[in-house]
Symmetry: C3
Subunit: 170 residues, 3 copies
């Protein structure tokens, strides 16, 4: 390869590593934002028309996403002392789309310790925008043994994964 070709290859590889780092940074913003009830920071992690579907709830667009932190259930968690923690995700990035698959847990104060109020499977579909990576769709399903949560995990790591896949719920 010529110097020019090697440089071009390197630039592409570094861009891929940066994509990975940017997506992890975006995901690491979510917990601190919801646990300090900063709806605007939460909303800006998503695209304008992004959505977040969790068991029984469906937040569509930034206004609804920002309002998530005002829900009575969420306020109760935060007032008691909550931590929304994400695991290191499995990450498939293809050009301007990405899928992150992993776990989330919500810890809430209980007595002199903390209980695990929720453990869920998550599928994040992300897109590259002019302003950087944003969440197009997040689906969260509590791990109760239900098939749908397991499918979410399986779909992310099963290899035939296509970030462009339609994620509309059944």
């Amino acid at each position: 390869m010529t110097l020019e070709e090697r440089l071009k290859t390197l630039e592409k590889r570094v861009r891929q590593l940066e994509d990975r780092a940017e997506i992890l940074q975006l995901m690491a913003t979510y917990g601190p934002a919801v646990d300090s009830r900063n709806g605007d920071i939460v909303a800006e992690l998503w695209t304008e028309d992004g959505h977040y579907r969790t068991d029984g709830l469906d937040f569509a667009g930034r206004e609804e996403l920002a309002a998530l932190v005002e829900l009575p259930g969420h306020r109760q968690y935060v007032d008691a002392g909550s931590a929304h923690v994400l695991s290191l995700p499995h990450l498939v990035i293809e050009d301007d789309r990405a899928v992150a698959t992993g776990y989330s847990r919500v810890y809430v104060v209980q007595g002199d310790g903390h209980r695990v109020a929720r453990t869920s499977a998550n599928r994040w579909e992300l897109v590259r925008t002019a302003g950087g990576w944003r969440v197009q769709s997040r689906i969260n399903r509590r791990l109760t043994g239900a098939e749908e949560a397991r499918q979410l995990l399986h779909g992310g790591v099963a290899g035939g994964d296509d970030p462009a896949v339609d994620s509309s719920p059944p």
Copy 2:
């Protein structure tokens, strides 16, 4: 340095960053694979002759590793709703070998919340193969105050760490 030398140095540094990302990706595949009971995906994370030693159990080779998800205890966990979550590991990479040291936790549904069924120390020994990084050996010890689990953690971060070290159990 000449342009050629700088390019060569950069290529090496980028390769190291990619190694790190690939190993983290491999580790992030484990949980979703076992929690959706995909034995083949689990098995392919290991080398052909890889092994996984956990308290009282020893899985050797891909056939045994794939069958791990069929164990009655594992099925019970998954049916109830389980999450096998790994922490961000301490990672030492030297050429074609690597050691990752960190924690794993298993969360299982209990009532309207989840209990922490298991918290363990883990040492993963990895090798670079033609098909990418694979696990040669994983040792998992529940953190019950026993010396062996502490030694696993100490060995990983104590600096004199040599990825080529013999990991055969005592």
Copy 3:
């Protein structure tokens, strides 16, 4: 851009990715070090004059940081079987300073499972030294609904974050 300029840009971008990896590695060392009671490894994560403030305790300088693992409460945790686990942090790096914001949890054996003894918000302020990245200050506040813990999380992700900010406690 000339080849020289492109190379220079790449070198800077790779350095930033390496900074990120080095800081994550440093943070991934903390848990295994405290859970195997290796005070020297803990102390060396900090600068000579670094400090660690946690609710009711203030460790200043490496001698006090190394002695942290000898505290009766800490020994009790480790003897029972403890895991100090950090979440993937939100990370802002600017030149030779960085701020990492995230969660820590302490799991301790209870019966045949583990309880979550502590879940906290953390702000790590790091500096680049001749020997690599070191912690200048870590502040840890248990998430009990108290305003200070929420502020720690908010301050890290609110965007106007300046790694050079004074972190002296009120």
